[in-house]
């Protein structure tokens, strides 16, 4: 894997069902920790955006553009929010992901490099290079 990336990294927080098992004190504690974590990263210039997402979800799929309800509101895979990180190396992004206060309750953090351009455009460039080689 390329460990350097000028375009930053995205953290996707997965899991929506872990909250249920917590007491209100635990919920308050993890919320405060999460907010303080995001504020610190923002102050350090390492987080440039972040949003929680509502649980509701609709899926639009395929040629016929069929709309269905998102099946994963309660699932471990459901995305509950994201951070956009402005750090230069993949290792930095993983270290930040490992600080997530939800991890001990079962949250999973997906760490993904942001692409410089649309993958369709890079595929075209790749094919053109190949054809000209």
């Amino acid at each position: 894997m390329n460990t350097q990336n000028q375009n930053g990294y995205m953290l996707l927080f997965r899991g929506n069902d872990w909250l249920k098992s917590l007491s209100s004190e635990e919920k308050q504690k993890v919320t405060d920790q999460w907010m303080a974590w995001f504020r610190r990263l923002t102050d350090e210039g390492k987080a440039i955006a972040g949003n929680p997402l509502e649980r509701e979800s609709k899926i639009v799929s395929g040629k016929n553009r069929v709309v269905s309800d998102g099946p994963f509101a309660e699932s471990k895979e459901a995305i509950g929010g994201y951070f956009l990180l402005d750090v230069a190396s993949f290792d930095d992004a993983v270290v930040i992901a490992q600080e997530c206060p939800g991890l001990q309750y079962g949250v999973q953090v997906e760490v993904r490099p942001v692409a410089a351009e649309c993958p369709v455009a890079s595929e075209l460039k790749h094919q053109t290079q190949f054809a000209n080689a």
């Binding site: 949003n51 509701e56 899926i59 799929s61 040629k63 490992q98 760490v111």
Partner: protein, 137 residues
């Protein structure tokens, strides 16, 4: 579902690498369509710049993030390939915009999610505090 939302909607593109199967002409045509689609949305103030994600990465899990595992982000049809944030007020409009996305003609799907005004953890903690307050009075 609450169909009004002042915080916008997020479109999450969930696809495998279907574009690897397209010819140069098809790729070029799709790029042009996508560009026109996105320019129209931004000209109307309905979309903020989105991002595409590389098909690499890891998942961190477990206490203190002790498990770091690889993908898969390339083959899975559920993998998130990119996102776009829409500045529209109803989910119906967000769905209609998702339906007009040129790439859907080739498969894949788009998840439409309301952006939360505040963290759901906060909301839930407040609800619980209120419930406990009601019980104690």
């Amino acid at each position: 579902m609450n169909t009004q939302n002042h915080d916008g909607f997020m479109l999450l593109y969930r696809t495998d690498e279907w574009y690897n199967k397209l010819s140069q002409e098809e790729l070029q045509e799709l790029i042009n369509q996508n560009k026109a689609w996105f320019e129209r949305l931004t000209a109307h103030g309905k979309a903020k710049p989105g991002r595409a994600l590389e098909r690499t990465g890891v998942t961190v899990s477990g206490k203190n993030g002790r498990f770091v595992t690889d993908g898969p982000f390339a083959e899975s049809k559920e993998a998130v390939g990119g996102y776009l944030v829409l500045d529209v007020e109803t989910i119906e409009e967000a769905i209609a915009i998702a339906q007009s996305s040129p790439g859907l003609a080739y498969g894949g799907s788009i998840e439409v999610r309301p952006v939360a005004e505040e963290c759901p953890l906060d909301v839930r903690a407040r609800e619980l505090a209120r419930e406990e307050h009601c019980v104690t009075i």
